[in-house]
Symmetry: C2
């Protein structure tokens, strides 16, 4: 390791010069590349291209006039975050870091422009890359190649934060996460487009029997038709399957979404777009434990601290917490189907009460979390099976939906 460092040190200047050239070429390439294949670009695509091109042109101009260029990125950390109840999610502050081209930053500088160049190609060709693929593509960049994925992820996060200021998410840059999407069933027609012909494809989510619709990795282009009264987002696959097999979506006129734990970006964005486009409420149905409340539900509703630059796209501020609530444990007599809170649960709940701006801003949550801590137990959504497998469909959900006393 020491030897390797020394080598890098010796070859430092030479590498910097070479990579400097690469950075220049990358900028030139971004600024001049022509579209390979004509594809109808939508408004967000044009905005993305405009951002990339103007950034690259600015850098190229500086380099041509022999001035060292710089790039400015928003700072991504809790220290640069604010929470406003009316806005509904953690927002990025005004803090920014500037990266000027120098011997030390030249590789990173070149990589940033290269990634933006790939992004431009992908927008123009209606393609995409996973973060992992983007890392591998760099293997052909000579000295500018990424050593490992954390390196490429960090550069991508910077670009994403930059783009977020223009209302663009990473998905618009065409970098998709490697993740499993959620599943959907119920009173919803999803309108996608055929990637070959560009024509509309109508996907009727009432038509999949015991199966369901699997959300794609990017959902920005989807449109919706529905007469559903609400969306119910469900923590576990088993509960989703139960509600789907018994066509709860039909009797309750709703849409079911399976999150499978903390929902993926695509799932959160899907729910957000759907709830906004159709102005329907979103009810979360998760386990009554600090993880279900402070991780799954909180992330769904307001986002997370270390990803403040993307919360504006991915959180669902309209979401409400249907259950299972601490009060439900008493109301539905689930006491003997609970489990003791573990130290990690207690810590998580106490952290939420002490440090989390979301929970601190909502009295009903402070009361609920304190009650949970006092009871010292947690209850899973499956615990309702104590009263029969379909108690959840015949009793629990109808009672909760009629009462409408959801947690914020």
């Amino acid at each position: 390791m020491a030897q390797r460092k020394k080598k890098t040190g010796k070859a430092g200047k030479k590498t910097a010069r070479k990579v400097g050239k690469t950075a220049g070429r990358a900028a030139a390439r971004v600024a001049t590349t022509t579209t390979r294949r004509k594809k109808k670009l939508d408004g967000l695509d044009k905005k993305t291209l405009s951002l990339i091109e103007s950034t690259a042109e600015r850098v190229q101009k500086k380099i041509r006039s022999r001035v060292l260029p710089e790039l400015r990125f928003p700072i991504r950390s809790l220290s640069n975050v604010k929470y406003d109840r009316r806005v509904g999610y953690f927002q990025l502050g005004k803090g920014a870091k500037t990266r000027a081209l120098s011997v030390n930053t030249v590789k990173n500088f070149a990589q940033t422009l290269r990634l933006m160049s790939i992004s431009k190609d992908m927008v123009e060709n209606d393609d995409f890359a996973t973060k992992r693929e983007a890392y591998y593509v760099s293997k052909n960049w000579g000295d500018a190649k990424f050593t490992d994925q954390p390196e490429s992820d960090a550069v991508m996060d910077d670009i994403e934060a930059l783009a977020s200021l223009d209302g663009l998410s990473r998905e618009q840059l065409r970098f998709y996460p490697e993740e499993h999407g959620g599943s959907v069933a119920g009173n919803l027609v999803v309108i996608d487009r055929d990637t070959e012909t560009g024509r509309d494809i109508r996907i009727d989510c009432t038509g999949f029997g015991t199966g369901s619709y699997s959300i794609p990795h990017s959902v920005e282009h989807l449109r919706f038709e529905t007469d559903a009264r609400f969306v119910i987002v469900i923590e576990t696959g088993g509960m989703f399957q139960r509600l789907n097999n018994h066509k709860f979506w039909k009797s309750a006129r709703c849409i079911l979404v399976e999150m499978g734990g903390v929902p993926t970006r695509a799932t959160r964005r899907f729910i957000r777009l759907l709830s906004e486009a159709k102005r329907i409420p979103v009810y979360a149905f998760v386990d009554c434990d600090p993880y279900g409340i402070a991780n799954i539900y909180r992330t769904l509703k307001v986002g997370s601290g270390n990803a403040a630059h993307i919360n504006r796209f991915f959180c669902v501020p309209k979401a409400q917490y249907l259950g299972v609530t601490p009060q439900d444990i008493l109301d539905f007599k689930l006491e003997d189907a609970t489990h003791p809170l573990q130290p990690v649960d207690v810590k998580r709940a106490k952290d939420a009460l002490k440090n989390d701006p979301f929970f601190k801003a909502h009295k009903p949550w402070i009361t609920a979390l304190n009650k949970l801590l006092k009871m010292g137990v947690r209850a899973e959504q499956q615990a309702l099976a104590k009263w029969g497998l379909n108690f959840v469909i015949e009793e629990y959900l109808p009672v909760k939906l009629k009462k409408k006393s959801f947690l914020p």
Copy 2:
């Protein structure tokens, strides 16, 4: 803990008597319960009911004639497993354990019959329970209730092993695992049935746009229509999304299945039923590393050792290994997009060569694994992006599919 044990010890006989009664009642209940709602039972349903009823009647008869009943279960362990290349998967041996009703076994005995009783209800009412739900249902069983889920899982595994001798899987008993299913896109129509009307539902897997069909938790009732030439099962969601967005299934006339790591039971069963019903080959496309080979692919193809009683349902003996192979790393010049094998990788590969009856039975695999160990590197399927994001579609897959030199 000591105190608790003592208490159980004191109350032991009394509990045993009470639970003994419960066991008797459970057996009686199974033997006499009437169907709540008429539902068309298929052949497997009838077989399941017949197994449950005959088991319960045997126990009930013994109890009535004041003889202690017993239950026999196959032993589930590697020591009771055999591998035959022609059969293609790890098979359960003849080893069995007998559980006679006694003070020590009475609780377990009652629980076994209770679970079988739930199973009977569910078959008759076309319902199901996750393993977790089954555990919670027991909370109403008085002294026979399960203390924790490992306890109920063990009893369920015994019942499953018992049923497997009759060609019945846990899904036929209506106990579903809590898992995320895989996704499907391409030249396939899945025929499901409407849970309300019993009528056929046709699901066209070419019609999901950038999304896909999410496999349900139980697939036994599904039928298929297809003109596909093969099924390609894919390790990562990102690669699946790429092949789907570029409609690789159309140009190659095939079906795409996303496994998302080690495939779930439902996904494996889905692939198995599809490949057998339609007699089409299955090609696995996973990372070139000991995990992709010895865990994901091996589990898909022949099953696993500690679940020998279910391999016959869930493995896909017809599966072949398309890639990424160690030879591909050389043929497609991926050397600089590889990662060094970690000690855990080396251990896994050596274990496979030394202890795994599947790899030991196939010379090409011995050669391939030794080559991988000698090269000392691993390559992910995304590494192909080194040559361009769609190199996999334009070059790699066409070349491999034309050559057809798959690993067994």
